[in-house]
Amino acid sequence: MTVLLLRPWLALAPGALGAGGLSAALTLTSRHEQDKWTSLALVLFVGWSFAFAGLIGWARRPNNRTGMLMVIVGFGVLLGSLAQSNSALVFTGANILGSIFIAAFVQLILAYPTGRLLSTFARRLVIAGYVTALLAPLLSSMFQPHETCKPHACPRNLVLVSHDHASYAITTAIWTIAAALIFAGVLYLIIGRWRGATPAMRRILGPVYVTGGFSFVLLTIGFIVQPFSNVGDVVVTVALLFTFPVPYLFLAGLLRSTLARGAAAETVFQRIPERASPDEVQEGFRRALGDPTLEVAYWYPAGEHYVDVNGNALELPEDTRDRIVTRLDYADKRVAALIHDAALREQPELLNAVAGAARISLERDRLLVEDRARAERYRALLNAMPDLMFRISRQGRYLGFRAQKESELVVKDVVGLTVWDRLPWELADRVMERAYSALENRTTETLEYELDLDGAVNHYEGRIAAAGKDEFLLIVRNITERKLQEHELQASRARIVAAEDAARRRLERNLHDGAQQRLVSLSLSLRLAQSRLRSDPEEADQMLEESRTELAQALEELRELARGIHPAILTDRGLDAALDALAARSAVPVELDVCEACLSPSVEAAAYYVVSEALANVTKYADASLVRVTVGATNGSAEVEVVDDGIGGADPVRGSGLRGLADRVAALEGTLEVDSPPGRGTVVRARIPIEIG
């Protein structure tokens, strides 16, 4: 068996020759064959054609079962010719087994070109074919009505049961219908396959399907007509004649791809011009392989992906029934891939030859495609940039521009104008001064400038880079927003510094006027009491009592001051407790709702001061009966809200306290809003990002 699989020729070629010889011997010595030579020629031609073409196919394509199936058909035809035997046993057996080759032929057509049956329906059809091919002749023989052999009587029919004509008619009718149905199924399948086939696949299927399909149509008609007329026999014979070309068509296809292999490399190079663009290379491949849908994918090492001929990123598709990928690697290095019709797999020699020859040219093209990919990337980059770009000549004349929105251009028709036409002269001079420097020194120059557009001052940043000897690029970015933010940031910083200075001065003043004065008085009082201790103990005692009161007041003042610097309770016991303490000291009743969020110390401090300042304002100005304080965390921000039911009308711009708070919150990238419509209370709301804090 192993020998048979590895070297089918060794066992089967002599077998086919032997079977042919045996068939010839039996035919020529047959007593019941009328036309011995024609019959022999037909059997040997058809049988050997299938057997030897099949063996060639088997040897060339060991993995393709088509060759093997052809060999089976060939041997089946030779087996049928054993019915020429004068021996009753051989005659009867050959009559029963003589139709097997038709079932094998059905399988061959349906399995073409891979040799494998792809659908369940096809497999069932083939099984039904084999069953019919065995049972139909058996039943016919069992109820054979009369002798069919001439000029002499047939050998004895060993399975004959009766000559009952009715039984014969019924069995014949049954298997004729069965055969007709099977042939109809085959036609249905091959028409379906033809319609779903790609152009490349049609080229492979075409010749075989035309001849095979035609013979099946004739066979179907023949088998239907046969029981009623001798014309049926003629039709079946013609149908069999049409199967003759099938093995040769297969063989021809095989020889064609073998011959093509040598020509393939040459074809590729001939089809592709010397300095071909990637598109032309792809077109060359399409023609050389006869697949107009073929795509070339080049490996792009910098991006570690494939790109198409236009330089766009491309992901290789998964192999499907219709479309597969052939990778072209060179010494473990990826070069390219061909995405093509699955039918080309049936011509591996052609594909391999083309692929081999292609690697060299593709390696060259890959560099070209890399350039395109790079250009594509730069284009994407430029498109993504919001900047205005101008190409300007050394003489200051605009050669081209790119703007996301035309409204960004001061003057719309830019090309052809000079920088002095478009810009204030002083600015144009500055631009050209930098441009000359960029052109001479090959450096990138920058300049910032302002333009008054529609009454609003816009700030711009220009970058100038040489592009060739006599041309430069001016890339302009509108930085107004950034400038405003910088300005606001500076102002905010200045306010923070000023507020800090003021706070220090206030603190020093408070210390000096308050606790320090009390301590001074205390020191003097104690000294006085000390001097009176002996002479007037009673007065001394009263003085000491007054000193104690003074000291208690000094301590309270110090505590109040310390709270103003930083509330110790916030550090020690957290925001919740600190706000509780604030609420307890507030002159206006406070409803407090603090969620237990984990906030950083700086966010907690900011939240505390927002509440503290807002409560102080409520007490001083709002004339409110209730304040609601809420602290929560939503969407990554701490949200502090102080709402009162007072008279409203607070102006956040005028109050230095609120502005100081806004600066403090802004320093943490947060926002402070004050909503205070007259007569409807005030809402102070701060949002501070938790991450930043």
């Binding site: 000096h512 006027d513 320090q516 004065q517 009390r518 301590l519 001074v520 008085s521 020191s523 003097l524 009082s525 000294r527 006085l528 001097s531 009176r532 003074e550």
Partner: protein, 132 residues
């Protein structure tokens, strides 16, 4: 006048030396008055600011003015300068709850006799300054 100064120079006896206390903190004025009077000085008046001090000196002719540096209207140095331009004017002793080092050379330049930190104020301290 010379007689009085002579008495002021005597460290032990301050009886009859007339003092004007100028400070904007009532608590300090009261304590200082108590302390100085206990040591024999005669506190002839008090003033809470610079203008009040100048008026009181005009009216009361004290021997010594105990003058706080930080006053609500003009600072103590200004008041001291004005008081000491007249040779017959009172001796001025500056005082403050701050340290004298905080004021640099202002104390020497304004014509005052010296500086007593508020916490160290006593009759003896005043007498020591005036004796120098």
């Amino acid at each position: 006048m010379a007689n009085r100064i002579g008495r002021i120079g005597d460290l032990g006896d301050h009886t009859g030396v007339r003092v004007l206390i100028v400070d904007d903190h009532p608590s300090f004025r009261a304590s200082a008055r108590g302390l100085l009077e206990a040591e024999g000085y005669e506190v002839v008046g008090e003033a809470a600011d610079g203008a009040g001090a100048l008026e009181a000196v005009e009216e009361l002719h004290p021997d010594i003015v105990l003058l706080d540096v930080q006053l609500p209207d003009v600072d103590g140095f200004e008041v001291a300068s004005r008081l000491t331009t007249n040779e017959d004017g009172p001796q001025v002793v500056l005082t403050s709850s701050r340290d004298s080092a905080d004021y640099g050379s202002c104390i020497d330049d304004c014509g005052a006799r010296g500086f007593v930190p508020k916490g160290e104020l006593s009759g003896a301290a005043l007498a020591l300054l005036l004796a120098l």
